[in-house]
């Protein structure tokens, strides 16, 4: 494997980019999405927002992965 960090370097040390990982936690604020409108393809907002947030979460985690993985 090519991604061997130097032994004295913690690849998980906190960096600015890790703040992005807090964005998925926005779902904790339930009143934000506990509504019917706007609907999308017949899905009430409550449902499509949470499903969409899965992809947002994947993209964010994926971005942080590439930003913090030594190459």
């Amino acid at each position: 494997m090519a991604e061997n960090p130097k032994p004295d370097q913690d690849p998980d040390r906190l960096r600015g980019v890790h703040v992005l990982l807090l964005i998925p936690f926005l779902v904790l604020w339930v009143p934000l999405y506990n509504t019917i409108e706007p609907t999308l393809f017949g899905f009430p907002f409550f449902y499509w927002f949470q499903l969409l947030w899965i992809f947002a979460s994947m993209i964010i985690t994926g971005y942080v992965y590439f930003a913090t993985t030594p190459r």
């Binding site: 990982l21 904790l28 604020w29 985690t61």
Partner: protein, 517 residues
């Protein structure tokens, strides 16, 4: 239910196929199965894709596929907690669990309790962690059987007397055999087949059924309006948010999750999977909506399913939906997916519980001089015991008990959070303080759940405000507060305590012993 020979034939063919794969898996990524880290962790050789299938097949279980839509069918929007639950877990896994992988690989840990033993040098805290893991896992295995039982009954296999359990016993005997023989390699290989089958089934359902019903709008309009959203009050919000947050905190503490994490071949496999596993969360969201489709199709009112609903309650919603809308051969395929979906997590769970028993109870307290072969043999035997226990549970006790026990399991396992998760970052917490916090959390959590009839949300009264919240979150907060306060007391004026790990172990990419990559 009348016997459905076409569905049953397809079901049996797929079951036979995965049985073959389960046995053949012994030779996959060959290793010496007389060593526990080979049998119980597949040598830690799984790359990104296999880990994705393994953890996906492990975390999103057969019971989930039956129970989440059943909850949507019966209670509406609350069931969707499964989606944010599996959103918030992954950023957390991304940050925290590579550290567990590294320290485990460095020191040859194969269980969470191994890590606790090494980090805190306290065999009693390690025992508490091991027992909690085993206790939380056993009812979870039993629940998988409920998923299997429902689909077997839905194909009309209704034998009289004690024979009613025969299909279940046969399925579990098959499972036990390939588990014993192949270890973790078996469920990992089968998970790949099962997950592909589940994806096909669910995508077929979410394309075909809304089309037949005239669009998604008609699916949602079948839901009683007061259940389509959460109630518009603070209590409903705190209940929902704490339920998914607490479930997420608990998820990766379960032994079967830890086993999945530790069987991967590098810390980057875990980091990548934190970004890739939410694909299953999307699937789970769609599965929850199967409950609404069942409402829209009106399966409950159909006389053909009346007796089955009487027996299984809302858990019969998805099987009835499939029987109603799919041709028989595809019903067999879908039910096989659910049935095999029960075997995979049940296999991993029983292996994980067996690892804990063999390593952290047997070797630590009973036979400290045991050879690697004895240790591995003990684990194999215990994986059988765990499965027989789960089978007994389902045969001799009401299903209600398994469901209540599994609820308690979540509340129990979260009590290992302070020791495990904070332990991955700091040795500051005192092990005796953690042990007392754990005990208080276990007792208060069990008491709170029992006092409200084994429901997850406890109406906590603070002054004149009632804040409903998930018991696991409330009690782990108490647990953690006690651990901190007692650490301040116990650690006053003391030297640093035992710790066999050093900071660089937590980001190591290679181990010192075998099993490296």
């Amino acid at each position: 239910m009348p016997l459905n020979p076409t569905a049953l034939t397809v079901f049996v063919i797929f079951f036979g196929f995965v049985t073959f794969v389960g046995f053949a898996a012994a030779n996959w990524k060959k290793g010496d199965l007389d060593k526990l880290h080979e049998w119980g962790l597949a040598g830690g050789k799984f790359g990104t894709l296999i880990t994705w299938f393994l953890l996906g097949g492990d975390l999103y279980t057969a019971y989930t596929f039956i129970a989440v839509p059943a909850l949507a069918f019966g209670a509406g929007a609350l069931a969707f907690f499964a989606v944010p639950y599996t959103i918030v877990i992954y950023p957390f896994v991304f940050m925290v669990f590579p550290r567990l992988w590294s320290v485990a690989r460095k020191h040859g840990y194969i269980t969470a309790a191994d890590f606790i033993r090494g980090r805190y040098g306290d065999r009693w805290l390690a025992l508490a962690i091991a027992l909690t893991g085993i206790l939380a896992t056993l009812p979870y295995i039993a629940l998988q059987l409920i998923g299997l039982e429902v689909v077997i009954a839905a194909m009309g296999v209704q034998l009289g007397g004690w024979l009613v359990y025969l299909p279940l016993i046969i399925s579990f005997a098959i499972l036990a055999a390939f588990d014993y023989f192949s270890g973790l390699r078996a469920p990992a290989a089968i998970a790949i087949i099962k997950d592909i089958m589940i994806y096909i089934t669910v995508f077929a359902a979410v394309i075909i059924i809304p089309y037949q019903l005239g669009g998604w709008g008609n699916v949602f309009s079948a839901v009683p309006p007061q259940q389509l959203l959460l109630a518009d009050n603070l209590g409903a919000y705190t209940g929902y948010a704490t339920l998914f947050l607490g479930s997420a905190m608990a998820l990766f503490l379960y032994p079967h999750s830890v086993t999945g994490v530790l069987s991967s071949s590098s810390r980057h496999v875990i980091r990548r999977n934190a970004a890739l596993l939410p694909a299953y969360s999307f699937l789970l969201g769609l599965i929850a909506l199967l409950g609404y489709m069942a409402l829209a199709v009106g399966v409950r009112q159909m006389p053909a399913y009346a007796t089955a609903f009487e027996q299984f309650g809302p858990n019969f919603a998805v099987p009835a939906l499939f029987l109603e809308v799919f041709p028989d051969w595809f019903v067999g395929f879908a039910f096989a997916a659910i049935g095999i979906g029960a075997l995979v997590p049940a296999a991993i769970m029983s292996i994980a519980a067996a690892n804990l028993f063999s390593r952290n109870i047997y070797r630590e307290f009973v036979n400290s001089n045991c050879t690697p072969t004895q240790e591995s043999r003990m684990a194999k035997t215990m994986s059988l015991v765990a499965k027989v226990g789960a089978l007994m549970f389902i045969i001799f006790l009401p299903h209600e008990y398994a469901i209540q026990m599994q609820l308690l399991g979540g509340i129990w396992i979260i009590q290992t959070f302070p020791s495990m998760i904070f332990g991955l970052y700091t040795r500051w917490l005192n092990s005796k303080a953690l042990l007392i916090g754990w005990a208080v959390g276990m007792i208060s959590g069990t008491w709170m759940a029992a006092s409200i009839g084994f429901r997850p949300i406890f109406p906590l009264v603070v002054g004149d405000v009632t804040i409903p919240g998930y018991i696991a979150v409330y009690t782990v907060a108490i647990n953690f507060a006690i651990a901190i306060v007692l650490t301040l007391v116990f650690n006053a004026g003391k030297k640093p305590q035992a710790d066999e790990t050093v900071p660089s172990d937590y980001y190591a990419t290679e181990g010192t012993g075998g099993g490296g990559h």
